[in-house]
């Protein structure tokens, strides 16, 4: 992709590939993903299970599972994270870039109080003394909306509800004042009213702390309500990216259009949903051309070869040979 990096760019991912060994040879979980995130932006990465969205996110911090072969580059503040030593990486991971996960109960340490866990992070990543760390931990809990923070600091993770645990995890992630927060399905396990609260908390913190957020989700509604730009992934590839408003109003990739048509809409009358036929290809058995072609109603012979990522309007890109037809189709619907 021949993009000129703008001064606003916070992080650049270029041609990221992650391969895992399987029983039938190696398979690419991520197959050449490229995207940027800008300052103060919430970028959504959306896709179905197996699309490679979580592996992409983890690979930014080099957290992909053992045995994974990673290539490509991740440019952060002028340095390629892929070429740093593990020791240098530790000054970035959890300090400049933090991460939160779907299941806070497994990400938090059950035998340490939340105060100890926040203080550990502060000790590792800041120069505060013990008393300052204690104070900062209380402030952080207050920041993420936990009532009575000076009492709750002594509680263990199991004493918090699911939504509150997610807030605690956010507080730990924010301890080092990161410039970028990576969030892997942070609200998927939460009830809808609690999800709403946590997403709005993330948006508020983005404004207050001036950080970028990459939010991985499978829920298009969450993208619409939370993100500024979106990257759509399918079978390990980025198939479309652009501002949320443009992508939702005029999708340029048949897969994005299919996803949007699969969601029941309130304002449309009860016409039959238009699901995408079939299932995503198996990771070890992807078609050589466009990975979506076997399920795509727009597919032609051309789709046997890999479509390039094409700029369709300012900031909006899609890897689809038939993006014009798709865009027309989305307008007609």
């Amino acid at each position: 992709m021949n993009t000129i990096t703008s001064p606003d760019t916070l992080l650049e991912v270029r041609d990221l590939r992650v391969r895992f060994a399987t029983a039938n040879g190696s398979a690419a979980a991520v197959d050449g993903a490229s995207f940027d995130i800008r300052r103060r932006e919430v970028l959504g990465i959306v896709g179905e299970s197996g699309s490679g969205k979580s592996v992409t996110l983890r690979s930014i911090l080099r957290l992909s599972a053992i045995g994974g072969e990673v290539s490509g580059s991740v440019i952060w503040a002028g340095r390629d994270l892929m070429s740093l030593s593990e020791r240098e990486m530790r000054t970035i991971r959890g300090r400049e870039i933090s991460m939160i996960f779907q299941e806070p109960m497994t990400a938090l340490n059950p035998v340490l109080t939340v105060g100890e866990q926040i203080r550990d992070n502060l000790e590792e990543h800041t120069t505060l003394n013990a008393e300052q760390r204690r104070q900062r931990a209380v402030e952080l809990l207050e920041l993420v909306g936990i009532a009575d923070p000076d009492k709750r600091i002594h509680d263990y993770p199991h004493e918090f509800s699911g939504g509150m645990r997610q807030r605690v995890m956010i507080a730990i992630a924010l301890a080092s004042s990161p410039k970028l927060l990576l969030a892997d399905e942070p609200t998927t396990a939460l009830d809808v009213t609690i999800q709403d609260q946590v997403l709005k908390l993330i948006l508020r913190l983005r404004d207050e702390l001036d950080m970028g957020v990459i939010l991985v989700t499978h829920d298009l509604g969450v993208v619409a309500q939370t993100c500024d730009r979106v990257v759509v992934m399918y079978a390990g590839r980025v198939v479309e990216s652009g501002p949320v408003v443009d992508v939702f109003a005029r999708p340029q990739h048949a897969y994005t259009l299919g996803l949007l048509n699969s969601v029941p809409l309130a304002h449309k009358s009860k016409k039959t949903l238009q699901p995408i036929p079939g299932t995503p290809p198996d990771i070890g058995d992807r078609p050589p051309g466009c990975p979506f072609a076997p399920r795509c109603s727009f597919a032609t012979d051309e789709c046997d070869s890999q479509p390039p990522m094409k700029q369709v309007s300012e900031d909006h890109r899609a890897a689809c040979w038939h993006h014009e037809k798709v865009a027309e189709g989305s307008r007609a619907a």
């Binding site: 999800q195 997403l199 309500q225 949320v244 699901p275």
Partner: protein
């Protein structure tokens, strides 16, 4: 739709609580045993051929309700009338017959299918137990069922692990339909599926309902899906139905503040509808310790003293649209 005065299924005042384990010390001290109050007086009816959606957040009792309806668990109090019969007093052959007529489909099709039985064996067992057809015509019947739910014919010889999540859910539906039920209870059947597969299963379910004239109780936490499939919707909160009504009435003009909050919290697909205000404050209270008065009052923006002390009675704003609230939303 059938005569509304003569519903297929009538549920009134059902209660169910699950007592918590208790230590010997607590027993010696004479403490009262704590209990999760999962259902606290649930009343509704379902007409023949209708789809009733049941929505609510975790712990509201919706899955307990689904299980109680098929007698997978015994309820503490209340009545369930199905087609004129008192379900709770059924025994032996009558109970088996009821279990054939009302089928439950589970959320996780992998844990509800026997991993060591082929799809054909699973279906054959259901057909044989209920004597649905002559043994000689079972293979044909299995083939028909697979076609009905959109699975390949050779699926009968394969094991559950060989299928994707969506296909497994189709197997679960085929098994439920194999015994020719009149009423299908679907408990979160699309929640574990990806959105494109979810749409396939929803379409299948609606198509089957129309073709087989099924009565459907659709339990889900997903408001978009419930709105799409249901004729009527019941909203549950902490073991009670707080609002019930025709789908579009309920979604366009919710009476209960909890329904309004739930609708506002569900992320809309339209990026223009972004909001920065929380739809509702606070967290779900524990079902071990349900608040006094209206159970929603600790989170309700409108709550007054009355709500803290007295449980609200059910009010009706339109034909068939009821809610239990002291301060219902009003519309001009």
């Amino acid at each position: 739709m059938d005569d509304p005065d003569n519903p297929l299924l009538q549920v009134s005042g059902i209660h169910k609580s699950f007592p918590m384990p208790m230590s010997i010390l607590a027993r010696v001290r004479g403490r009262e045993r704590a209990a999760v109050k999962a259902l606290r007086g649930v009343t509704f009816s379902v007409r023949r051929g209708e789809t009733l959606g049941i929505v609510g957040e975790s712990g509201c009792g919706k899955s307990t309700l689904a299980r109680a309806l098929v007698r997978l668990l015994t309820i503490d109090d209340g009545r369930i009338i199905f087609d004129g019969d008192d379900v709770l007093s059924l025994k032996g052959a009558d109970l088996r017959q009821y279990n054939r007529r009302v089928q439950l489909v589970f959320q996780d099709p992998f844990s509800s299918l026997n991993p060591r039985m082929t799809v054909g064996q699973t279906l054959r067992e259901a057909l044989a137990v209920h004597n649905i057809c002559a043994p000689s015509s079972i293979p044909q019947r299995i083939a028909d069922l697979l076609v009905l739910v959109g699975l390949p014919r050779d699926a009968a010889d394969r094991f559950p692990f060989e299928f994707s999540g969506g296909q497994r859910q189709r197997i679960g539906i085929a098994r439920a339909l194999s015994v020719e039920p009149e009423c299908l209870i679907a408990d979160e059947i699309v929640s574990a599926l990806d959105v494109s597969i979810q749409a396939q299963i929803i379409n299948l379910l609606m198509d089957l309902q129309a073709r087989l004239k099924l009565t459907l109780i659709f339990v889900s936490h997903d408001l978009r899906v419930v709105r799409y499939v249901s004729h009527r919707v019941a909203v549950m909160y902490l073991g009670k139905i707080v609002e019930i009504g025709e789908t579009e009435n309920l979604f366009r003009q919710p009476i209960h503040p909890y329904t309004s909050a739930l609708l506002a919290a569900a992320p809309d697909l339209d990026p223009a509808k972004k909001s920065t205000v929380d739809a509702v404050q606070g967290e779900l209270p524990s079902a071990l310790n349900v608040p006094m008065g209206c159970s929603f009052h600790p989170r309700c923006p409108k709550a007054v003293d009355l709500c803290r002390t007295h449980a609200p009675a059910e009010i009706q704003t339109a034909e068939g649209h009821n809610a239990a609230c002291h301060l219902p939303n009003t519309y001009p």
